[in-house]
C-alpha cells in the first residue's frame, strides 16, 4: 500500500526535482555583479590601478564630468577594486550577473558619470568629496564654507588656519590665491 502511495505521488508530482529558478543559494560573500556609486566616488583611480585585467578605466570631459567605465567581459571578479576603494564606492553584490544575448553588444559595459562641481572660492571644476567624508571633516559649522572648495582651495584654507594659529592678530593676507 505504501508503495502504491509512492507511485501515485510520483505520478502526480512534476518530473523534475528543482526548477531552474530555485537553485542552491549563493553565499553572501560571493563576488558577483559589480556596482558603482557615483556619489561616493572621488575619481582617484585606485580601482583602475589595481584591476589586473584592466576592466576599469576612466575617461573625462574636462570641466564637466569624469566617467567610470567597467567592462564585465574583462573582469575576473577578484574584488581588489572593492577592497582598495577608499570611499567604498565599488561593491560586488552577491547576485549573479545574468547572461546576455549578443544583440546587446559583446558583453556588459557599465558607465557611471561623476559630475564635476565648481569650487565655491576659485570656481575651478573638481570632483566633490562624498557627503559622508564631508560630514566627518566638517562636522561643526565653523568651516562650513570649505565644503564646496576644490582640493587646492582646501589646502589654502588649511594653511591659512595654520598661519592664523601662529600669528593670532589675523595678519593673513586675504586673497592669497593659489596658482593654476
Amino acid at each position: 500500500m505504501a508503495m502504491l502511495k509512492t507511485i501515485l505521488g510520483n505520478l502526480l508530482r512534476p518530473s523534475r526535482t528543482r526548477a531552474p529558478a530555485d537553485m542552491p543559494v549563493v553565499p553572501p560573500t560571493y563576488r558577483g555583479a559589480l556596482t558603482h556609486d557615483a556619489g561616493r566616488c572621488t575619481a582617484c583611480g585606485t580601482c583602475a590601478f589595481v584591476c589586473a585585467p584592466k576592466a576599469i578605466h576612466f575617461t573625462q570631459e574636462p570641466g564637466i564630468s569624469v566617467s567610470w567605465h567597467f567592462f564585465i567581459g574583462q573582469c575576473s571578479f577578484c574584488g581588489l577594486c572593492e577592497q582598495n576603494c577608499p570611499t567604498r564606492a565599488i561593491h560586488l553584490r552577491a547576485d549573479i550577473p545574468g547572461s546576455m544575448n549578443s544583440a546587446g553588444g559583446d558583453g556588459l559595459r557599465l558607465e557611471s558619470v561623476i559630475h564635476l562641481q565648481p569650487c565655491t572660492r576659485c570656481g575651478a571644476a573638481h570632483v566633490p568629496l562624498p557627503a559622508a567624508t564631508m560630514d566627518a571633516l566638517w562636522a561643526a559649522g565653523a568651516d562650513e564654507a570649505e565644503r564646496g572648495y576644490c582640493p587646492d582651495c582646501r589646502r589654502w584654507a588649511a594653511s591659512a588656519r595654520l598661519r592664523t594659529a601662529f600669528t593670532p592678530d589675523g595678519a593673513v593676507a586675504e586673497g592669497g590665491r593659489h596658482d593654476r
Binding site: P20, A52, S76, S102
Partner: protein
C-alpha cells in the same frame, strides 16, 4: 510555420545537446560545468545532455582564452556542428582574454570575431546556475530561429562575415 516545423522548433528548446570546447581555458569554467550535470543543479531537467562529439550537438559551450593554436580548432569544430547551432561563451576569457590579454600567442580579441556568439555568460568562472541560464537562453534562441547562424542563413545563404582576428598571413 506548419505543425511539424513547430514541433521541431519546440523539441530544439526542450532537448538541447551540448558539447564543450576548451579553447585554452584555465579549466575553471569546465569544472563549473561538471556540477551542472550533477543532481544538485540537474541540467537534465531541461533536457540538456552533454555530448563528446560536436556532430551530435546543438549548442557549443566555448570556454577559455583564445589562442593562436586553438583558433583553427574552434573554426573546425564549429563547422562540424550541424545547423541550426548556437554558441555560448563561458566566462570573461572568450570576450576579452581577461588577465591573459596581451600574452604571447593569446588572441586579445572577442570570440565574436572568430565564430558568431549567441549568449555570453559573465563570471570568472560563472556559477553553474548562470551557465544553465545561458544554455536555456541559447535553447530559446534556437526555438525562435534567432541564433546568429540561423539569422545569417535566412538572410542569405552562406555569406558569413569573414573572421579577421588572429589570421596568419
Amino acid at each position: 510555420m506548419n505543425l511539424i516545423e513547430r514541433v521541431v522548433a519546440i523539441s530544439r528548446r526542450r532537448s538541447p545537446w551540448i558539447c564543450r570546447l576548451n579553447a585554452g581555458s584555465c579549466n575553471g569554467c569546465d569544472i563549473e560545468i561538471t556540477p551542472l550535470l550533477s543532481p544538485r543543479y540537474d541540467a537534465e531537467q531541461l533536457g540538456i545532455e552533454l555530448h563528446g562529439t560536436p556532430k551530435h550537438a546543438d549548442i557549443v559551450l566555448i570556454s577559455g582564452t583564445l589562442t593562436l593554436r586553438s583558433r583553427q580548432a574552434i573554426l573546425d569544430i564549429y563547422d562540424q556542428v550541424p545547423n541550426p547551432k548556437a554558441v555560448v561563451a563561458l566566462g570573461s576569457c572568450p570576450s576579452s582574454g581577461n588577465v591573459f590579454a596581451g600574452s604571447p600567442l593569446v588572441l586579445s580579441c572577442s570570440l565574436d570575431s572568430v565564430v558568431p556568439v549567441d549568449v555570453w555568460v559573465p563570471g570568472c568562472p560563472p556559477r553553474p546556475q548562470a551557465i544553465l541560464d545561458g544554455i536555456a537562453r541559447a535553447a530559446k534562441l534556437l526555438e525562435d530561429g534567432a541564433t546568429k547562424s540561423q539569422l545569417a542563413k535566412s538572410r542569405l545563404a552562406g555569406s558569413q562575415p569573414e573572421s579577421r582576428c588572429g589570421r596568419l598571413s
